[in-house]
Amino acid sequence: MARFNNDQVSGAVWIAVGIAIALGSLRYGLGPLESPGTGFLPFWAGGIIAFLALIGVIQSSLSRRRGTGWRPILRGVLWHKPLIVVAALFAYALLMKPLGFVLCTVLFIGFLLRAVEPQPWSVVIVGAIGTALGAFALFNLWLKAQLPLGPWGF
């Protein structure tokens, strides 16, 4: 990886994304210029993405020669913490319907309070239950937001 700098890597990814979009648009039909088809705009958007990314790769290759190297994006940071948060978010999205809003929220808030920067258990328990009930009252009861109810009715 260190053979390339950040812009070279991200530029290469964008070239692939742009080409994929442009090719994907072809099946919707570009249409004639006087009556552009469904694929017209995404095709050009994809083409422009690939073109701009190519410019970026060329520019960053030139700056690589001048010494701009790979800048580690995870060095010096607690990278496992964002990972925990993302995992918790996905779990929440998948469990909120089967478990219901209140229980799912208690588990979600409790987990984050304890796992990311550990808080005392008293804060975790009171914070998780209080937040879940408060949010349920605010959004479901007052603002009628129709949050999912679990098999136990809350």
Partner: protein, 503 residues
């Protein structure tokens, strides 16, 4: 309908108790969002958008607008007391505001920032009232080519002003246009890139995209560091600035107001840019520019006036042309559409109550903010002391509820989390999300205008250049795009401040 009648109608609407309540809720939430670092007005408005589905359109707009200008007020408190900008437009306020606090002058710094915000916010609203109706009348002459060129110009200006290489900002705008094209084609009703997911037929929602890119990604970036915030421990006294303070800062306030308002009107401009420009101007006109950064009151008054005046200015393109000037306005546009309104030149004529009600509520909101920000400063300081590890789960929960309650769909939540990850990577690789959001919102409108124009001209793209208004707008865009070839313009862009992407 003349101005006096219009203003009276506006106050009649804005002073209804429910609208007053929503205005109050909006400015309180706005101040709170501004005070709390890591949660900007873009994320806050997206979060609260679903809560407005059950109220009248005018109340919804009044509240959402209140959040925007309220955040500009609140942001300065954190800048002055913690040296961390509460939101992006208050970055510059840190420079002299925090130094004033360190010298025991936190009170006058907070006071002048509130007064400057009030004066500029009020003048901004007056400007909005005077300019919007004639501009709306002129905009009636706009056809699809003019709209297309105007949107292209907005995107070009935003990418021009973005920090970092221009190819990155343009690339993000192009990616936003692609994302905006996902869903049913508005002309043929055939599905595009929906992958047979029903929720994608209506396109990628702006709310999950914004909350992911700005809310979730910000949390992900914050939790990877152990955050220890220390509020400057000082007794906050003498909030009312002295005569000398006023003398030093009144010029800065009016210059900041002027700069902020006109940069706010410009599509792609806005509060962040105008606060930086105002600071630069103050330094330029000062007899002692070397003292900036050591606690000069002008360095607080000018930028704070600029970012508040910009909020009034930013409403002009939205309400008169239906074109959002920045990411916050893009969300407001989306929310107006959800409420069945089409912002644009007809809005003033067809829904005068809504237009003037929203505008006059900003006067009232500005007065409320002055009251909230001066006597209640102690409360905001106490909120600042809430540790981030306790705060961030709440921010995430609001994002989750906001995304889910749009359509009661888990898919929207997953889209938001996906955008959160994407936003995190964008920040790691220095890509700005603001052009993406603006393009995502403008995408469907831009595509419709492009296709209609080409139909009108039997396929000739020259239509964008041969019609006078459209031609001028395209010319401006081309000049900005050609900047790498023009040395003095390139130098000008190089000195533009590195701004955060949350506008």
């Amino acid at each position: 309908m003349d101005y006096v009648q219009s203003i009276l109608l506006g106050f009649q609407v804005a002073l209804q108790w429910n609208n007053l309540l929503f205005c109050f809720i909006g400015v309180v939430i706005g101040t709170l969002v501004g005070v709390l670092p890591g949660l900007g007005p873009v994320a806050a408005i997206s979060l609260l958008l679903p809560t407005t589905f059950h109220v009248t359109p005018v109340s919804a707009i009044i509240m959402l607008a209140g959040i925007y200008y309220g955040a500009m007020y609140g942001g300065s408190t954190t800048s002055i007391l913690v040296n961390i900008p509460g939101e992006a437009a208050s970055v510059v306020t840190c420079l002299d505001g925090y130094q004033m606090a360190r010298r025991g002058r936190a009170g006058p710094a907070l006071g002048i920032s509130a007064f400057a915000s009030f004066i500029a916010g009020t003048i901004g609203v007056v400007g909005l009232m005077l300019i919007a109706p004639p501009l709306a009348e002129m905009a009636l002459k706009f056809g699809p080519p003019e709209y297309f060129s105007l949107m292209i110009m907005g995107l070009t200006i935003l990418t021009f002003l973005a920090s970092g290489p221009m190819w990155k900002a343009l690339l993000m705008a192009a990616f936003g246009l692609f994302l905006g094209s996902i869903g049913l084609d508005s002309m043929t009703a055939s599905a595009r890139f929906t992958m047979d997911i029903v929720e994608l037929s209506d396109g990628i929602g702006m709310v999950p995209a914004v909350m992911g890119l700005f809310g979730i990604s910000e949390v992900l970036l914050n939790v990877e560091h152990s955050i220890r915030r220390s509020v400057f421990e000082t007794k906050i006294r003498h909030l009312l600035p002295t005569f000398q303070d006023w003398k030093d800062s009144i010029g800065a306030i009016f210059r900041g107001t002027f700069i902020g308002f006109f940069l706010g009107v410009l599509p792609g401009g806005g509060a962040v840019i105008s606060s930086f420009v105002s600071y630069a101007v103050e330094k330029k006109v000062s007899k002692t520019p070397e003292r900036f950064g050591t606690g000069l009151i002008q360095g607080v008054a000018g930028p704070e006036a600029a970012n508040n005046a910009a909020t009034g200015g930013a409403f002009i393109p939205l309400l008169t042309l239906g074109i959002p000037a920045n990411a916050v306005m893009a969300i407001l546009l989306g929310s107006m559409m959800i409420h069945g309104m089409q912002p644009g030149p007809m809005l003033v004529q067809e829904q005068p109550g809504l237009f003037w009600g929203a505008v006059t509520s900003m006067y009232i909101g500005n007065a409320m903010l002055l009251i909230l920000n001066l006597p209640l400063i102690g409360l905001w300081v106490r909120i600042l002391k809430v540790p981030y590890p306790i705060l961030f789960p709440l921010i995430l929960l609001f994002c989750l509820i906001g995304a889910y309650s749009l359509n009661n769909s888990v898919i929207e939540v997953l889209i938001m989390v996906g955008f959160g990850l994407l936003g995190y990577l964008f920040k790691k690789f220095d890509y700005e999300a603001a052009p993406l959001i603006l393009a995502l919102v403008l995408g469907p409108m831009l595509e419709a205008a492009l296709r209609r124009s080409l139909l009108l001209s039997a396929g000739s793209p020259l239509i964008f250049f041969t019609r006078p208004i459209s031609g001028v707008l395209m010319l401006i865009s081309l000049i900005l795009l050609a900047y790498p070839l023009v040395p003095w313009l390139r130098r000008k862009r190089a000195i533009l401040p590195q701004v955060s992407d949350e506008e």
